[in-house]
């Protein structure tokens, strides 16, 4: 199970990374502090990502822009990868806009606990 997290909050990334390391469910994980790094990782990785959690409000390239780039350049290479928008926004508009993308499985409101993260990953394994 390979999981990617994209968020500009370093503290959150630190915590999320630790949770992944400790998890029995996740074997590989990659934490990106910005969307550009994630795109570079995607173009280089040998291990197809199963799940990508992406934040919406990020400087330079925001979550929506990342999703578009992913759909344009990577969805044919990684057809089974599921995207989850992970945001602190409770706005209905953000939710609707996120779910409008084919590759986006769900819109999640932070915080994403370890249990929740693992159940999403397991769901992906079983599907």
């Amino acid at each position: 199970m390979n999981v990617i997290f994209i968020d500009d909050d370093e503290d959150l990334n630190f915590l999320q990374s630790r949770m992944c390391t400790r998890s029995q469910v996740i074997n590989h994980h990659y934490i990106a502090n910005n969307a550009q790094d994630a795109l570079v990782y995607l173009s280089e990785t040998q291990i197809p990502p199963d799940v990508i959690f992406v934040d919406l409000n990020m400087p330079e390239m925001n979550g929506f822009q990342f999703i578009e780039r992913f759909e344009d350049n990577f969805s044919s290479r990684f057809p089974d990868t599921q995207l989850y928008v992970l945001s602190s926004s409770v706005s209905e508009k953000d939710r609707k806009n996120s779910l409008a993308y084919l590759s986006v499985k769900d819109f999640l409101v932070k915080p994403l606990t370890q249990d929740k993260m693992e159940s999403i990953c397991l769901q992906q394994v079983n599907s």
């Binding site: 909050d9 915590l15 915080p111």
Partner: protein, 340 residues
């Protein structure tokens, strides 16, 4: 021609006074008489500086007009006979250098000034609201980290040690409190997207009351529900209406000073498919000056309040086009009535 000049003087909506540099008022038009409340005879016995609410401003004006010949569109504050001050915009011109006579034309600008002030207050409030939302949004990220960290901590350690779980609960409770406050701040932006469904107002009142059960018990308040016999079905957003009703109920509970606090909630069917919900308390009431500010964001008289409860409530009701009426008497209590 004199006749026309005379009419202009008599019919002008502006105050027109003719005076001289000995400060004597020689002539006052009907507008001056009705606005100031002095009779013409009283005017003729007065010193011109007496019409200014600040004597210094008056003598400065006299200096300006008598030495410099002209006062052009300057703002002053005049004082009526009953002592009430009002802002004016003044033009004054020398009309006869020999007798040092001049004419003062003044426009009462109190209404205009109030409108301008209201406009600025509204703008300020909007700006403040926007700022608050930006700050709230930025606080969300570290707060989510705290919630996540605490959750992980809890799943790892809480079962092992009673002290740990005590402090953990304490931290969690307060983090959630901050979260609630921030959600309230972020709330208004989400409020206008209503998800309406046909709901019974009586059921909503019961539910909102249940939400406040803890507070009712702690404050030892008697909750007296007097609901209409028939269900009152209206198209409302369930969550938002519950929030609005709950805010009003919590306010009622928190206004109690004595032991015998009673919150009385009455719902009634009215004529022509209308209905009302009345939430009444016998708490400390709201003073007249506070009453003017109850819908101002961040205005609060509570030690632990943010001053957003009624702002949110009003926004929710406005979005539903529900009218709210407030009556209050200090020491007796307040009544909020919603008209559907």
């Amino acid at each position: 021609m004199d006749y026309i000049y005379n009419l202009a003087f008599l019919r002008s909506h502006d105050i027109i006074l003719i005076a001289d540099c000995t400060h004597r008022i020689i002539e006052a038009n009907p507008s001056a008489i009705s606005i100031f409340g002095y009779s013409k005879e009283e005017f003729l016995r007065m010193d011109l500086s007496q019409i200014f609410s600040d004597g210094k401003q008056g003598s400065q004006f006299l200096k300006d007009i008598c030495k410099k010949d002209l006062v052009n569109l300057k703002e002053y504050e005049f004082k009526k006979k009953n002592g009430k001050a009002f802002p004016v915009l003044v033009n004054a011109d020398n009309i006869d250098p020999e007798t040092e006579t001049f004419m003062v034309v003044a426009k009462d600008v109190s209404r205009y000034k109030k409108e301008k002030e209201d406009h600025y207050t509204r703008k300020e409030m909007m700006l403040l609201g926007k700022m608050a939302q930006t700050v709230a949004h930025d606080l969300k990220n570290p707060l989510n980290n705290l919630l996540l960290g605490l959750h992980q901590f809890e799943t790892t350690f809480s079962e092992q040690n009673e002290e740990v779980s005590f402090y953990l609960n304490f931290l969690k409770k307060n983090t959630h409190r901050i979260n609630e406050l921030i959600n309230t701040l972020l709330g208004p932006s989400a409020i206008f997207r209503l998800q309406k469904e046909r709901l019974d107002l009586n059921e909503l009142v019961r539910e909102a009351t249940r939400m406040s059960q803890d507070k009712i018990q702690i404050a030892n308040v008697i909750m007296n529900l007097d609901l209409s016999d028939d269900a009152l079905f209206y198209e409302v957003d369930r969550e938002k209406m519950l929030m609005a009703l709950n805010n009003l109920i919590v306010n009622a509970i928190e206004s109690m000073t004595e032991e015998e606090g009673v919150v009385y909630i009455r719902t009634r069917q009215k004529k022509e498919g209308k209905a009302s919900i009345m939430i009444s308390d016998n708490g400390h009431g709201i003073s007249e000056s506070d009453l003017k500010n109850i819908y101002q964001p961040f205005y609060t008289t509570k030690s632990r309040g943010m001053g957003l409860g009624l702002v949110n409530t009003e926004q929710i009701l406005n979005a539903h086009e529900i009218e709210m009426e407030v009556r209050s008497e200090v020491g007796k209590g307040s009544t909020f009535t919603l008209y559907f």
